[in-house]
């Protein structure tokens, strides 16, 4: 959770009066709120933490970081199914398996 991941803005739209973006994190696409970086434009990179863009980042740094995070499996840790990861770490059966994986996909 502490990890913030660089992502590239693919699209920006206003939703419920809030500036939101679709962001590509090395192949994983998620939404992010741009209220804290209102000047961020499509094609630019930012550090995104728990669905919020927090600071702009240059393309070269972002690409290098994403490459490293992919190599180390950290994108999987950040965006994988948390119930499956928790069950595996604890050697436990998955509670409400179907429901949980549906949430993770959202």
């Amino acid at each position: 959770m502490c990890l913030a991941v660089p992502g590239r803005v693919l699209e920006i739209e206003e939703r419920d009066g809030t500036r939101m973006a679709t962001v590509d994190f090395g192949g994983v696409v998620k939404e992010a709120c741009l209220e804290y970086l209102p000047d961020l434009q499509v094609g630019e990179y930012a550090i995104v933490h728990v669905g919020f863009a927090l600071q702009k980042l240059d393309e070269e740094s972002a690409r290098q970081t994403l490459e490293l995070f992919t190599q180390l499996g950290m994108l999987q840790e950040e965006f994988g199914d948390p119930w499956e990861m928790a069950a595996e770490a604890g050697g436990l059966p998955l509670p409400g398996a179907a429901e949980a994986s549906q949430e993770a996909r959202q």
Binding site: M1, C2, L3, V50, L68, L72, P82, W83, A89, G90
Partner: protein, 375 residues
Amino acid sequence: MKYIDEFQDPELARGLLDEIRSTVTRPWALMEVCGGQTHTIIRHGIDQLLPDQVELIHGPGCPVCVTPLEVIDKALEIASRPEVIFCSFGDMLRVPGTGRDLFRVRSEGGDVRVVYSPLDALKIAQQNPDREVVFFGIGFETTAPPNAMTVYQARRLGIRNFSLLVSHVRVPPAIEAIMRSPNCRVQAFLAAGHVCSVMGLGEYPELAERFGVPIVVTGFEPLDILEGVRRTVVQLERGEHSVDNAYPRAVRPEGNPAALAMLEDVFEVTDRAWRGIGVIPGSGWRLAPRYRDYDAEYRFQVSGIDTREPAQCRSGEVLQGLLKPHECEAFGTVCTPRTPLGATMVSSEGACAAYYLYRRLDMNKTAPLEASPVG
């Protein structure tokens, strides 16, 4: 040098290590504050690559680890209520409360959901107007602005069935508490980069001056850590103690003004208990009085909790840098990621989990790693 080939730029890493080696003349103890940095250090064996005189002490910067047991127990009680949908980041699922965790609550029928962003929890509240949706708001200065924005949005959109169980913590008061500890050996800090992305550098010069410690803002990648160590050691050898930004690609001196304004609006500074450490004055945030309606503790009046910390767990000493994980008797025997006694073994950013994952073989065959006492 067994790990160095795994670095993104091994040549650059070698160069930085050579510079550190040629600079250092005496033993120094540096604390990396952030759990993400601890993870990188152990994963890449950076502490073993550094010269013996440079000791890295792992700090309390894992929000999952420092969330007090009492708050975990409150979360478990709220999450067990039939009218509640309890939303959390995935890292909290297996953090042990007194006797159980959120994973167990779900197995017992509680509606616990994992979200990627606090805004996802707000969406769940909009979609379930007949349920109470509670979001577990933990984290440092990096996570607090997203959670603050979510409460602000809930009020703006008139969403009434949403509340936040707040346990936010702040880094600078923790640095102060560490420096004031009579057992403190820390001589310099590698400050957490993403915390500074939000907060800027403003709080650090006074701390550096008052305690005579260099504070070097440092990123999370292996080369970032080496560069942070290099700059820190240069200052220490010269007898300097200033604030230095070694992570300028993500940290502006002023931080993120929009996020700071939202923090100011939604939260107020409060004393906060840290798991295993105790209360640190001014070290947390809670919702400001005008957002009281969105405070889950206030809304659910959770009380009568009998909180019991496992006696064997020494995570408090680990979090303060007084003990290395493998020096704890329970490490790797009674306490493993599968059967954790404390949060430092559960969280991927916890020092105990990092040692367990990446140093297990070393632990089994050798005595504790070198600890170089600094006098």
